[in-house]
């Protein structure tokens, strides 16, 4: 595996087929898009708290611009930040390293996947600059509003938005096929099904969920594009179409999509928790089976997004049952994570703080979902700020906390330097505390009946009260504080990269294979590909002197039924 020849800048950074470089490309594109999405949220939160002001750095927010900002904030954060960073970036970087092979099975398809993704991002960004701006029909793009320029007033923005989303789906389909095949086929010798790190299982299951759920929406997107550009009537009730069809196509994808981004984040958290609690995961198979159950159930709950959208009311009962049933495997996952901490020896450094805060915050998001899944209560809560607060309490832990947990944990491996722990903690507290102050007021506003996607509540007498404005201002100011603290991370990132001192191969004493490669791993990862002897979470085994037992170290497997405890080893507990 010698790649001794000197590679040019273009070969190394732009047209690379190396999985780590492609992962980084995804990550930095995702971060760049997140900055745009973050700027959008800054603009419209300012408008909501101080209606009518000229927002510094943007100007006055018109209703048309407001819709576009909200729509693209949602679209970007889910499709161009959460997905590329959590699945594509971590998936690309981690899958070959953790299963012990030299690259993805189809490196060139992998490169193509990123290039299509980049193209989709460019199309989306370009759509903000066309006449009348970007699409403003919400990220769900319900027709007929999204289908006809006469209704949405963005004759170019809407099709560009749709094309960007469709391209992005194609990119992730290509990437997903690569992830799935790589993990199924390219595992190191000895890495059987139950010896794969949980994070990989979850990334791959997420890819499968994505692949299976997105198909109908791709067909639906083609139909919507024809409605927009050619004037067909797929979704136009006047011409014999049906707008509800799109809602079903969208949410048939849209709900599994929640799990598509949730699972990788949960996987990252699982690995971090095991390492820093020095504990074996509390029931590896329990996690796996819960995730299977979640994956299957996630396909039969979609219509809870549409309870009051005019679907047949009888169907709502069915979907209430399935929606509440999905709480069982998800709760079980949370219990397993909490139980993993039991009896541990927990180090609270930055990655672990992020991982634990993921659990703390995600629980809030999880339990508030019950209100919305219960059809009766959803009649009132649908499309209020309660929903907004709920899904931000799931998506912020997933996308932002999950990302920070992953990047702080794998930073030494990816970049070969250590992050500053003290700055990391400042950044952590500066993010987590304002985050709660943004969204708890929104729960209150939602309970009081404030509905979504309104650029100015002055027009609604019951909502234009002073006490509500106070809550909106609290949320906006907290947002500003949270954004400000992100600069601490940027500073830390840059400062750590410029450090002279190199990171050790395995700074956390972790078991999984990626820590046996150099930091950062060269093209080809290992001079000789590793072999696996045991599961990834054998921490603090009583028969060992040290509290870890790497996967690659030759020797017995304690999970083997024939495993004999060597009596000469004194018990360490």
């Amino acid at each position: 595996m010698s790649h001794a020849h000197k590679m040019s800048f273009w070969e190394k950074y732009v047209f690379s087929t190396d999985h780590k470089m492609i992962g980084l490309q995804y990550m930095f594109t995702g971060i760049a898009m997140a900055i745009i999405g973050g700027f959008f949220v800054y603009v419209f939160r300012m408008q909501l708290a101080f209606p009518g002001i000229s927002v510094p750095g943007y100007g006055e927010v018109t209703p048309l611009a407001y819709n576009s900002l909200v729509t693209n904030h949602g679209t970007i954060m889910i499709f161009w930040f959460a997905m590329p960073v959590l699945i594509a970036a971590f998936g690309n970087i981690l899958i070959p390293l953790m299963i012990g092979c030299d690259d993805m099975v189809f490196p060139r398809i992998n490169r193509l996947s990123y290039q299509i993704f980049l193209l989709s991002a460019l199309v989306l960004v370009a759509s903000f600059f066309v006449p009348n701006g970007g699409f403003g029909g919400a990220w769900t793009a319900y027709p007929p509003l999204s289908a006809e320029a006469a209704y949405n007033a963005t004759p170019l923005g809407a099709p560009m938005w749709l094309i960007a989303v469709a391209l992005e789906f194609v990119a992730f389909l290509l990437g997903g096929i690569n992830f799935i095949t790589t993990m199924m086929n390219a595992r190191a010798k000895g890495m059987t099904m139950y010896k794969i790190p949980i994070v990989l299982w979850l990334i791959v299951i997420a890819s499968i969920l994505f692949m299976l759920s997105v198909g109908p929406l791709i067909a639906g997107a083609v139909m919507l594009l024809f409605d927009q550009l050619l004037g067909t009537h797929f979704y136009n009730p006047g011409g014999g179409g049906d707008p509800l069809l799109w809602q079903h196509l969208f949410w048939f994808f849209g709900h599994p999509e929640v799990y598509v981004v949730l699972l990788p984040a949960m996987g990252i958290v699982a690995d971090i928790m095991a390492v820093f609690a020095r504990k074996k995961l509390f029931g590896y198979r329990t996690i796996l089976y819960s995730v299977f159950a979640t994956g299957i159930l996630s396909f039969v709950v979609w219509a809870h997004h549409q309870f009051i959208a005019g679907i047949d009311p009888r169907m709502a009962n069915l979907f209430t049952v399935t929606t509440l049933l999905i709480s069982i495997p998800i709760a079980e996952l949370c219990f397993v994570y909490i139980a993993t901490l039991y009896g541990g020896s927990i180090t609270f450094n930055t990655p672990m703080l992020w991982a634990i805060s993921f659990m703390v915050e995600f629980l809030i998001g999880g339990v508030t979902g019950i209100f919305l899944g219960a059809s009766g209560a959803d009649i009132y809560f649908h499309d209020t700020y309660f929903v907004v607060a709920h899904f931000h309490y799931t998506f912020v832990p997933i996308a932002i906390i999950g990302f920070y947990a992953g990047i702080t944990y794998w930073f030494p491996k990816i970049f070969g330097k250590m992050l500053d722990d003290k700055l990391g903690r400042i950044h952590f507290w500066g993010t987590i505390i304002p985050f709660n102050f943004i969204f708890i007021p929104l729960f209150v506003l939602g309970t009081a009946g404030q509905h979504r996607r309104i650029f100015n509540y002055e027009y609604f007498q019951d909502l234009a009260l002073a006490e509500f404005y106070n809550l909106r201002v609290i949320a906006t100011v907290s947002l500003l504080v949270m954004i400000a603290f992100q600069f601490v991370f940027v500073y830390n990132f840059v400062k750590s990269l410029r450090k002279k001192e190199k990171a050790p191969k395995n700074p956390w004493n972790a078991n999984t294979l990626e820590w046996t490669a150099d930091s950062p791993p060269p093209h080809g990862n290992w001079p000789e590909l590793p072999v696996v002897y045991r599961g990834p979470y054998e921490y603090s085994h009583p028969d060992r002197e040290s509290d870890w037992w790497p996967q690659h170290e030759p020797g017995p497997d304690p999970a083997d039924p024939d495993y004999q405890s060597p009596s000469q080893n004194p018990q360490t507990t």
Binding site: D242, H248, F299, D312
Partner: protein
């Protein structure tokens, strides 16, 4: 089974002549499904059209795509997608497949045969009067 033996069996089961046989059966089935509607019996047409389509698809998958000798895994993957489509259909049909349901009705006026055959239809999708 050793790889060599598997390879051997692969060959015997799939000589070129066998593919031609299957192709002939497929063509006969195709003939039936084209001629079927000429009888103008609705249930018979449904059987000749969709029943035979299923048989044809099954044969192509089994013998041409070699799903019959592929590992079960591939079959599970494909079967799962079909199940998923079934879920998709059952979840959506109550809203899209019918002109009315509980507490709602469609206002779309179905064009008649003359509407369709005359060329006047197309703008005639008037809503029922309020």
């Amino acid at each position: 089974m050793s790889e060599a033996a598997e390879h051997q069996e692969h060959h015997e089961a799939h000589g070129a002549g066998r593919y031609v046989k299957i192709w002939i059966i497929l063509l006969v089935l195709l003939g039936v499904s084209v001629i079927g509607p000429l009888a103008e019996i609705k249930w018979l047409t449904l059987i000749t059209a969709f029943g035979i389509a299923l048989v044809k698809a099954g044969m192509v998958c089994a013998y041409f795509m070699h799903l019959n000798i592929e590992k079960k895994l591939a079959w599970y993957i494909l079967f799962a997608t079909l199940l998923l489509l079934l879920v998709f259909f059952t979840g959506i049909a109550p809203d899209v497949m019918k002109p009315e349901g509980q507490n709602w009705e469609s206002l779309y006026v179905e064009p008649t045969q003359t509407d369709v055959e005359g060329h006047g239809y197309g703008d005639g999708h008037a809503e029922k009067a309020h």
